[in-house]
């Protein structure tokens, strides 16, 4: 199936689930919910940063403090994702500023991510085509920990950053980016690398540990929590383009929904990516019964993935069948 066919198919299936008329009110854009969520998250980050500050003189206490701070920082992926769709705010420049801020802090190249993520929406769960396929079958417990530890993330994002800064993009990634846009993507990687090298030079020159204790180390040790949320989005769902079953909506508490910007309604997000995060709950109430909604929370889903959707501890067994729904 070509990209064009895949897109047409997707929209046709969307219409089978919800009419344009019913969907339209949910696509309405606003600034206020995004500002509340974004500054709410920044306040939490400021607070945990203060906890790191308080813990600094107390030896090893700084590690749990940095972990907590890192967990907060890792949730900046949620606004990065929402702004990559352009749905977080009605005002475009606010959307783009937040996108860039989150991209720099979380070390994701924002413009390239926008293209890559468009590819994910076209080919979600299609083996060999989905650029964001999380743990395709056959998956192993070791593979799960490699993903959740975010080692894969640093390899992937670091690869984007350095390759693009050097003016090279892999053929697989290239299929998502029009030729005339490559210079912009290479430029964004160079700008981001310049910022990171600037921070490294500052750290070496001044001997200050501020960058390490308040950003880099927390970012590295805190990101697994956000990765676990990502595992729940698709892993273990059907591996074919099926809007009803290829993603998972996880019913969860308000606090978790706040930190993941309602991406727990993941089926609804894939059904209609034009719907901003603050309307996903309403859309869920409208069509959630037709989609793959699971009522066991994020920890329950991790357990399900680990106990039902693995084909071994470390060795892949390609012929072993794995539960698919």
């Amino acid at each position: 199936m070509t990209t064009i066919d895949a897109n047409a198919d997707l929209l046709k299936r969307q219409r089978e689930i919800i009419s344009r008329k019913t969907l339209k009110p949910y696509t309405k854009r606003k600034d206020l919910p995004g500002l509340i969520y974004f500054f709410g998250l920044l306040s939490c980050i400021g607070l945990t940063g203060f906890v790191v500050f308080l813990a600094e003189p107390h030896g090893w206490w700084i590690w749990p403090a940095m972990l907590l701070h890192g967990i907060m920082l890792s949730h900046l992926f949620a606004p990065l994702h929402e702004t990559s769709h352009g749905t977080a705010f009605k005002t475009r420049w606010i959307n783009e500023c937040v996108l860039w801020f989150c991209g720099i802090v979380t070390i994701w190249t924002p413009l390239y991510f926008r293209y890559d993520h468009a590819g994910h929406h076209t080919y979600a769960q299609v083996p060999g085509k989905d650029p964001e396929f999380v743990l395709p079958t056959p998956r192993t417990i070791l593979g799960y920990f490699y993903y959740v530890s975010a080692m894969h993330l640093w390899v992937k994002n670091g690869g984007w950053l350095f390759r693009h800064a050097l003016g090279y993009m892999t053929p697989f990634n290239r299929q998502f980016v029009p030729e005339d846009q490559l210079p912009k993507i290479f430029l964004e990687a160079r700008i981001m690398l310049a910022i990171y090298f600037g921070l490294a030079a500052f750290t070496i020159y001044t001997g200050s540990l501020v960058v390490l204790t308040y950003w880099l180390i927390p970012t590295i040790i805190g990101v697994p929590v956000a990765r676990m949320l990502r595992v729940a989005d698709h892993t273990g769902c059907v591996e074919k383009s099926d809007l009803r079953k290829y993603a998972r909506t996880v019913t969860t508490d308000r606090i978790t929904r706040f930190f993941c910007w309602n991406m727990s309604y993941h089926c609804e997000h894939h059904l209609a990516p034009s719907v901003p995060f603050h309307n996903l709950k309403g859309l869920h109430e409208e069509v959630g019964h037709e989609l793959n909604t699971v009522d066991k929370g994020y920890i329950g889903v991790q357990w399900e993935v680990l106990t039902k959707h693995m084909s071994g501890l470390w060795r892949k067994k390609p012929h072993e069948s794995v539960v698919q729904d």
Binding site: I4, R92, L111, Y115, A118, Q181, P273
Partner: protein, 104 residues
């Protein structure tokens, strides 16, 4: 026929800040309404062929329903990724509550 004004749709069939699909001369056209003014373009996104008439109008912008690529409804200019190629736009006039388009 290409340079003729062709009837497209009754003006009151499109809500303010909205878009409607029509077919004229075998061509799929999207008709937009914003601030009481009407605009027209091809109904296909240049990024991945989604119907722009399934998208949402925000001011002078049509946003593609699939990956949220954005285009100016006045000029057709591609405004943001993943869309990068502009869409073709058509001349529009409104007479007696009826919208006419030149799909030349």
């Amino acid at each position: 026929m290409a340079n003729d004004w062709l009837f497209a749709i009754d003006a009151d069939e499109i809500d303010e800040e909205d878009v409607a699909p029509i077919e004229i001369e075998g061509k799929e056209v999207a008709i937009y309404r914003n601030n009481g003014r009407f605009y027209a373009s091809v109904d296909k996104c240049t990024h991945g062929n989604a119907f722009l008439s399934d998208g949402i109008v925000v001011g002078d912008v049509i946003e593609c329903p699939l990956h949220q690529g954005r285009f100016c409804i006045k000029t057709g200019k591609a405004l943001s990724a993943p869309a990068s190629i502009s869409i073709e736009t058509f001349e529009v006039k409104v007479e007696n509550g009826k919208v006419f388009v030149k799909v030349g």
